[in-house]
């Protein structure tokens, strides 16, 4: 068929072109010559996504409220003191109110740690294997790459790319994410790694794995983690709560133990988050962690 004969060279050219693009972009990394193309993508699609989010987000929040109900209930049963607050939040029919509440708690957390933040809303999420989200604030709001992103409850991730009105955040659950973390009330440090796709497909609530650098340090379920803070406070500022150790696995033949962490932030229903635009003047240590729950209380 004439049609087929004509289309083969086109296919070959397009495939070759995409291979060249992949190679050039891969070799260039952060300074890739194609970053202009990405910026163009952010400039074109950013406003469209923003507009779409204005329609989608209210609906999405309602859906989230329903789908999260079982897991929130389970938590509430465990922590009776939190029960009241969660129930109220679930039953609040006014989404505006819920959002204002989130923002309030966010400001409270940020205030405790002395972080200077820019609040933003999640407008879209990544495809395929990547655990990334887009925020509706960009360089126009003073956001730069390698800034810490947190929700009211805890660490969310870090900014990787910034467009004029959007910012891309790599979530802490992404398989390519590594965060330095510290155990609460101790100096034991380690590396926190994501397990990919919000870790949900493992059927667990612990999408983060944590390895202590010191093999002999005590590590048990229930301990809590905060960020250690990076050199120059970029990409991670110190003192942001991360999550609770859910279980500890000892791999035979391995020097270190691996702990699986249940994060404080709800990675499946991220909505209002904060970008830390200025680090705290001094390390807040454990000040941002919520008061520790009394066992059986």
């Amino acid at each position: 068929m004439n049609h087929t004969r004509r289309s083969r060279p086109v296919l070959a050219v397009l495939l070759l072109l995409s291979l060249v693009l992949i190679t050039v972009d891969h070799r260039g990394r952060q300074n890739s010559p194609l970053r202009g193309l990405r910026l163009a993508g952010a400039a074109i699609f950013g406003p469209i996504e923003n507009a779409a989010a204005a329609v989608v987000n209210p609906v999405g929040s309602t859906v989230d409220d329903f789908t999260n109900a079982p897991s929130q209930k389970r938590r509430a049963d465990r922590l009776q003191r939190e029960n009241q607050r969660l129930q109220e939040q679930l039953m609040s029919s006014r989404l505006d109110k819920a959002r204002a509440g989130q923002l309030n708690r966010l400001l409270h957390s940020a205030g405790l740690g002395g972080f200077k933040i820019v609040a933003a809303e999640v407008i879209s999420a990544g495809q395929g294997f990547e655990d990334t989200v887009t925020l509706d604030a960009g360089s126009g709001s003073g956001i730069h790459p390698d800034m810490t992103v947190m929700a009211a409850d805890g660490l969310v991730g870090r900014v990787t790319r910034v467009g004029p009105s959007t910012a891309t955040v790599m979530l802490a659950t992404d398989a390519g994410s590594q965060v330095g973390a510290r155990l609460e009330a101790s100096k034991e440090i380690g590396v926190l790694q994501g397990t990919g796709r919000r870790g949900l497909s493992f059927g667990t609530t612990a999408p983060l794995s944590f390895q202590l650098l010191n093999a002999n340090a005590p590590l048990w379920p229930g301990q809590r983690l905060v960020t250690l803070g990076s050199q120059g406070d970029r990409p991670y500022v110190p003192g942001v709560p991360i999550g609770t150790v859910e279980r500890v696995v000892k791999t035979p033949g391995s020097l270190t133990r691996t702990a699986y962490i249940r994060p404080f932030a709800h990675f499946t229903s991220l909505d209002v988050v904060a970008v830390v635009v200025a680090p705290p003047k001094s390390d807040p240590h454990d000040a941002v962690l919520p008061p520790s729950p009394r066992p059986g209380g």
Binding site: H3, T4, S7, V10, L11, L14, L15, L17, S18, L19, V20, L21, I22, D25, H26, L37, R38, A40, G41, F45, I48, E49, A52, A53, V56, G60, V63, D64, T67, N68, V122, I123, S124, A125, G126, Q127, G128, F129, E130, V133, T134, T160, R161, G163, T166, A167, T168, M170, D174, A175, G176, G196, R197, R198, G199, L200, S201, F202, T268, S269
Partner: protein, 197 residues
């Protein structure tokens, strides 16, 4: 006759571009945020490429696939090498275009095309990721994400294919001068319009 054909092909390209942009935005703003079991989401862009390729043949399929893939590579929050989706969708658009002639004979063919496309797309994308050393593309990840994502693709495909056919048909139906054309099923109509070109 030539001018009307030219106008209709420009219109068809515009329709295809709009459909792709809509699919991309719905994908990142809605589908990828759904907390579905297994945290896998249907690939609406791939489904759109498959549908458009089945409608338009392999040449258009490959070009549409490449453009859609390139857009999927640069739409925030994409965080991988530019060109990965472009290559994958281009191949899938071409392959689905090749079997477009089969569409009129069998009613299950579109579903097979979607399932095969979904499987091939995920595996190819992951394979490319492994080649460039993407830490996310590990066997553990792929083996647990691929079966579910193919299932979701097949489940979502009737809606996406229907929507794409609807848009394509509406546009071309509006342009058609002869009455009665609107009554034809879109696939038959495509076969007819191809014979005339």
């Amino acid at each position: 006759m030539m001018t009307s054909a030219g106008a209709s092909s420009a219109g068809r390209n515009l329709t295809a571009a709009l459909v792709i942009v809509a699919a991309l935005v719905v994908q990142v703003a809605v589908a990828d945020r759904l907390p579905l079991p297994g945290s896998v989401t249907p690939d609406l862009v791939l489904l759109t490429v498959v549908a458009l390729a089945l409608l338009n043949g392999e040449l258009v399929g490959a070009i549409i696939g490449f453009c859609a893939g390139l857009a999927a590579d640069i739409i925030p929050p994409a965080d991988h090498e530019i060109g990965r989706y472009a290559l994958v969708y281009c191949l899938i658009g071409y392959a689905c275009g090749l079997v477009s002639a089969e569409m009129d004979r069998s009613s299950v063919a579109p579903f097979l095309a979607v399932a095969a496309g979904g499987l091939a797309g995920m595996v190819l994308y992951a394979g490319l990721g492994m080649m460039v050393g993407d830490p996310r593309a590990t066997w553990a990840n792929i083996s647990r994400l691929v079966p579910l994502s193919v299932l979701y693709d097949v489940l979502a495909s009737p809606f996406v294919v229907w929507a794409v056919l609807r848009v394509a048909h509406r546009f071309e139906g509006g342009r058609a001068s002869r009455p009665g054309r609107n009554d034809l099923p879109p696939l038959k109509y495509r076969a007819m319009s191809r014979e005339q070109v």
